[in-house]
């Protein structure tokens, strides 16, 4: 639901990194988004088309690399991917777990034409 502010941030970061390379155009953006970070790709794309207009990033393709959630049970060391209704350790039903992956939310790289 906050994809507008998020997309503004993505644009700001990519323009800032494209400037020192004197890029004429940003053609591709590679984003890494964990399953637990609740961002909808389609909405980002929708705002992107509006916000990037008339910048060097206009028309850039957005690539989303989705990272599935992975949890580690601290009680029995079981490593698992949770489903949304059941976050408990499926092995020992323990609740003391740590998040190994799934919270990522960053811009990995951009491709530009110079």
């Amino acid at each position: 639901m906050h994809e507008l502010s998020v997309t503004e941030s993505i644009l700001e970061i990519s323009l800032r990194h494209a400037a020192p390379a004197k890029a004429k155009r940003i053609t591709d953006l590679y984003l890494v988004i964990g399953q637990l970070s609740s961002i909808i790709d389609d909405s980002v794309q929708f705002y992107w088309d509006i916000l990037a207009k008339d910048t060097v990033a206009e028309g850039a393709r957005l690539h989303f690399k989705r990272i599935p959630a992975e949890l580690l049970c601290k009680t029995c060391d079981h490593h698992y991917s949770p489903d949304s209704e059941n976050l408990l350790c499926p092995h020992c039903k323990g609740t003391d777990v740590s998040v190994i992956a799934g919270k990522e939310f960053f811009l990995e790289s951009i491709e530009v034409e110079t």
Partner: protein, 230 residues
């Protein structure tokens, strides 16, 4: 020539930087701050009112109220004895560090007016269990208010919110006899996301459980002030 540029920059980094500046400003003024988050209707404003009523003679309290529109909440907080600032987001579903920075400049931080300095700042975020979790404001502690009528599945549906807070207030416990709410199921979900989370069972309507919540605020505030004096 096509060229790949490595970025590896967190998308929230701009907001996070501003949040850090807000924190520095609050610390310089010695103001301990809470970010209250909850779904609409969970009782954020009611909890603020009860808290103000109980603590306003001991502490000088400021409230920043975030809403999409109206100043209803800030008016309620002001009526209960707080120095209140309303922030209207004009459609945005959350407060971010920029909004807090602007609101902070409307508050007397650093004793520029005569009278008491602010001891405690309470930020009432926009009612929403998704977006506020992603935007750090620079406040010291994040509090989530859940309420019995919302249902017991909320930790499972909003893991981002439940995993990122420092304390949980479960409000409207006076409605437990009338609503299907499996407390065990709810708390198990919370325990997975946020092991050992400090939790208060309260009813803002009857006042039940409020003492423990108020005591927690006072203890945290004391620890904060003690940490500053070191």
């Amino acid at each position: 020539m096509p060229q790949r540029i490595n970025v590896v920059e967190g998308i929230m980094s701009v907001n996070d930087r501003l949040a850090q500046e807000n924190r520095t400003r609050l610390d310089r003024a010695g103001v301990f701050s809470l970010n209250l988050m909850a779904s609409p209707g969970a009782g954020k404003t009611s909890l603020i009112e009860c808290t103000l009523k109980a603590l306003k003679d001991k502490l000088s309290i400021a409230v920043i109220d975030g809403d999409i529109a109206t100043s209803i909440d800030a008016d309620r907080a002001a009526a209960a004895g707080a120095l209140a600032v309303q922030v209207n987001t004009g459609g945005e579903c959350h407060l971010d560090a920029v909004k807090i920075r602007d609101a902070l400049s409307q508050l007397p931080l650093g004793g520029e007016i005569t009278g008491r300095e602010i001891d405690l700042l309470v930020v009432e975020n926009v009612g929403n269990l998704v977006c506020p979790a992603s935007f750090h404001l620079g406040t010291h502690k994040s509090i989530l208010i859940a309420s019995i009528p919302e249902g017991d599945d909320k930790p499972y549906k909003y893991p981002g919110m439940y995993s990122g807070v420092d304390a949980l207030v479960i409000n409207k416990i006076d409605l437990l006899p009338y609503v299907t709410f499996r407390m065990d199921f709810f708390r198990k979900g919370v325990e997975v996301l946020n092991p050992g989370l400090v939790t208060f069972l309260v009813s803002c309507r009857t006042g039940e459980g409020m003492d423990a919540w108020l005591a927690w605020i006072l203890t945290e505030l004391e620890q904060y002030k003690a940490g500053r004096d070191l």
